[in-house]
């Protein structure tokens, strides 16, 4: 295996967009080191090669470029956007960030402090509080169990030396670089030569821990609304059922015609915000149904949500609903490929996960062959065992907990769930 480099030639307006994707997401955070890879990603923007932290920022900003370095659960992504005339100066910088980052104590400590403050500020948001607990229920304290920013107590303890150590794994053959914009031959050659020298191993791949024996978590907060998140641990993006679950998620949660929106908002007027997310990942992906509603109607909203869940397990989708979901997915595909940055990001993430670069286009053909029975079978296999995380006033939490335990008893074990 060698690093993948793709140039997407179609571009507009003299703009280059590039994505360098590395298999070092927060899933790679070590036990007790939650937040390490996000800290690493942020620190990469604080000096490399001949440029110290200040000079690095000035260089990019003087050229009017846009540069981000972030981790998601699965991947570390460096993202660049610039006018094409600056690409010969800025593209090699992406490689330098990975090859020769400075990661000086003082700069890593600054980034660490900023991340700690961001984590603290996230505690103001009831959605973030509920989501934090939901991750723990679904994945425990290990892989996928925390926000990429980490956990306060663990992030505090990370030493800059550990960041420098983790950085050594970054320049690897599993890297994927996708550039949207006119291909300039010397630049192409330079990128190719540099990346082909990277090392073979990306490090030990992460593994998931077992799902929690608990299926309920409540976080008390003195808010007007209660946030409810119903979660399921489902399949990796490579699994045959992934697209069937994607169709179900679109049916339930995408757009104003979606089932949850129509039922909870338009019919019952219970919520403003309601949706369903399926973040397809390298390992078992979380499928989350969420809403927020005034504390006094939280139980009614839970009942409505559980009725939708029962419906999904009991009967196949009507053909018209399935066709609507397919149409919405096709629309998302078309509308989500407008800018060079969007195309580069999609292609890079797919290739990095071992999928074909045109996975999304091919998926549009595959969804035509997925039947309502396929969707029902996927739901019955993967949505049997929900967990519930709620955030809100104490009275609403205890009412929610007792209703939840009537409907979904907590004695389920990890073995029974799989």
């Amino acid at each position: 295996m060698s690093p993948t480099i793709i140039w997407l030639d179609h571009s507009f307006g003299g703009i280059h967009a590039a994505r360098l994707v590395l298999p070092h997401g927060s899933a790679m955070d070590p036990q007790g080191g939650a937040g390490m890879h996000q800290l690493l990603a942020g620190s990469l923007t604080r000096g490399c090669g001949d440029l110290g932290a200040v000079a690095f920022a000035e260089h990019i900003e003087t050229l009017g470029g846009s540069l981000r370095s972030d981790t998601s659960d699965d991947r570390l992504v460096l993202a660049l956007k610039c006018v094409s005339t600056d690409a010969p100066q800025l593209l090699p910088l992406l490689l330098e960030m990975v090859e020769t980052p400075h990661l000086q104590d003082e700069q890593v400590r600054l980034e660490q402090d900023l991340n700690l403050q961001s984590l603290q500020r996230m505690q103001e948001d009831p959605f973030a509080l509920a989501h934090e607990q939901l991750r723990l229920l679904l994945y425990g304290s290990g892989t996928y169990g925390h926000d990429p920013l980490g956990r306060r107590d663990e992030l505090e303890g990370i030493d800059p030396e550990a960041i420098r150590h983790a950085a050594r794994a970054l320049p690897c053959h599993q890297a994927t670089m996708v550039i949207s914009g006119p291909a300039d031959e010397p630049l192409q050659r330079l990128v190719q030569e540099r990346i082909s020298c990277w090392q073979a191993s990306a490090g030990v791949r992460p593994q998931l821990g077992s799902i929690s024996a608990n299926n309920w978590a409540g976080v008390g907060a003195d808010t007007e609304q209660s946030v409810l998140m119903l979660g399921f641990r489902t399949v990796p993006i490579h699994a045959p059922e992934a697209l069937a679950l994607r169709l179900l998620q679109v049916h339930l949660g995408v757009g104003m015609s979606s089932r949850l929106f129509q039922s909870l908002r338009e019919t019952h007027g219970l919520v403003y915000d309601v949706g369903a997310e399926l973040a397809l990942r390298e390992l078992e992906s979380p499928f989350i149904w969420h809403l927020s509603t005034s504390a006094e109607q939280a139980v009614a909203a839970l009942d409505a949500l559980l009725a939708e869940w029962q419906q999904v397990l009991q009967a196949p989708l009507p053909e018209a609903s399935l066709e609507l979901a397919r149409a919405k997915l096709r629309g998302q595909e078309a509308l989500g490929r407008q800018t060079g940055a969007q195309r580069a990001e999609r292609t890079a993430l797919c290739l990095s996960l071992g999928l074909p670069g045109d996975y999304h286009q091919r998926a549009m053909e595959w969804i035509e062959t997925i039947s309502a029975t396929d969707v029902l079978e996927a739901a019955r296999r993967w949505l049997q065992h929900p967990v519930l995380s709620a955030c809100g006033p104490a009275a609403s939490l205890s009412a929610l907990q007792s209703r939840w335990q009537q409907v979904v008893p907590p004695q389920r074990s990890a073995a029974a769930a799989r």
Partner: protein, 423 residues
């Protein structure tokens, strides 16, 4: 038949010149046909933002935007969403202080459907009693959700303290009291007062045939819109009351320093372009003065932002710094010192950097059809439609000397300052 206007619009930055047309009733329609585009976008804009609300109407502009999606004659609730999404489209709407807009982004084949449905939905809303009661609950939930975010609460308090009785000081979502008292009849009256041909604009970008869409618009509800008969009462304009305030909020984790200044109205584009250069030089990127000093060197803040919001009755500039509660005093002092130093002007290097960041930000924003059409819709509504490179020319016209006096607009003694701390 729709007529062409004489606006001087030129092709630039990779795009043809936008076509400005006017329907028989005076409603402007701006078209940007792009044969290569893979999508089409339809936007309907109207000057019925929360600014237009009168006593007892706080929140009616936004509530109406919700009610529009509950359907109209022959188009039951949900039918619009279903039909647009069934062709792979997405629709949404947003209400601001000055205006409200509705947009549909979809594959080009669906545009004719969107042109048939969106004007009916927006201009002939059903406003049925039962839907009204139900949707009011949804709007109240939206209000509750926003009130559960301490940052939102702090920002609303800043606007209320700074803008006083001006409508910009009121939340766009409205107040519980006014929302509870609203009736479909009052909403209907608000609708017909403001949704008028001369206070609306349509913009379409992407792949389509201009003559076909113009005909469809002219022969539908947009073409039938009456023009305004009564002039809007003149506003005294926005003033920001200087002062220093402090508030303690529950569930706040990090302290905030908020500062609010008045700036010239949106039509003063040249002045605002200069202020854009100032806010960028001061707070955009790690090399900017405030970020460099407060975040990178002194490590006093988690983040610091300074934004200019162009508004028709007087623009607003807002500074937000996020820090540990124990650092708030030090942050406030350092910010004031740096803002006072701005009066001495900015260097050539700072100007070059700020200009480039803004120029490239503008070029990047033109890449997708949605934001592009949005720019056309908003500038058509305010009668400031212009070539795509016009903002770049304004930025280029400034130099260090001409920018220097503008810094006075950010003098801390003119600001409404709110210090926000945990309980």
């Amino acid at each position: 038949m729709p007529t062409d206007s004489l606006a001087d619009l030129r092709p630039c930055l990779g795009y043809p010149a936008p076509q400005q047309r006017t329907l028989d009733n005076g409603c402007p329609v701006t078209l940007l046909p792009l044969a290569e585009a893979s999508v089409a976008c339809l936007q309907f804009w109207c000057q019925a933002g929360s600014w237009r609300e009168q006593s007892g109407e706080a929140g009616i502009a936004h509530f109406l935007e919700h009610m529009v999606f509950k359907g109209s004659d022959g188009l039951p609730a949900g039918a619009f969403d279903h039909r647009v999404e069934a062709v792979g489209g997405q629709s949404n709407a947003a209400t601001g202080f000055d205006d409200v807009h509705y947009h549909v982004l979809l594959p080009p084949e669906g545009l004719s459907l969107a042109l048939e449905l969106l004007p009916r939905l927006v201009l002939t809303p059903g406003l049925q009693e039962q839907d009204f009661q139900l949707e009011r609950q949804v709007v109240l939930e939206e209000l509750a959700q926003s009130e559960d975010q301490p940052e939102e609460v702090a920002f609303q308090q800043l606007l209320a303290l700074g803008c006083g009785q001006h409508p910009y000081g009121r939340p766009i979502l409205g107040t519980r009291e006014d929302l509870q008292g609203m009736t479909p009849a009052a909403m209907g009256a608000f609708q017909s007062r403001h949704y008028r041909a001369d206070r609306c604009a349509v913009a379409i970008g992407g792949r389509f045939d201009p003559e076909v869409v113009l005909h469809q618009l002219q022969s539908g509800p947009v073409g039938e819109l009456p023009a305004t008969t009564t002039a809007e009462a003149a506003s005294a304009g926005l003033a920001v009351a200087p002062g220093r305030h402090r508030v303690h909020l529950p569930r706040l984790e990090s302290a905030r320093l908020l500062m609010l200044w008045a700036a010239p109205p949106a039509k003063a584009q040249q002045q605002l372009s200069g202020l854009d250069l100032w806010t960028t030089a001061l707070a955009e990127g790690r090399s900017s003065r405030l970020v460099k000093r407060l975040r990178e060197e002194l490590q006093l803040v988690e983040s610091i932002d300074l934004e200019l919001h162009p508004l028709e009755d007087g623009s607003l500039m807002v500074l937000e710094a996020v820090c540990e509660p124990s650092q708030l005093e030090a942050v406030a002092q350092e910010v004031e010192t740096l803002l006072q130093q701005a009066a001495a002007g900015m260097s050539q290097a700072e100007l070059a950097r700020a200009r480039r960041l803004l120029e490239h930000g503008h070029r990047f924003s033109l890449e997708a059809i949605g934001p592009l059409t949005q720019m056309l819709g908003q500038t058509s509504l305010s009668r400031r439609l212009q070539s795509f490179d016009e903002p770049l020319q304004r930025l280029a016209s400034w130099n260090s000397d001409s920018l220097k006096p503008l810094a006075a607009a950010l003098d801390p003694s003119l600001a409404c300052i709110l210090e926000v701390l945990p309980l």
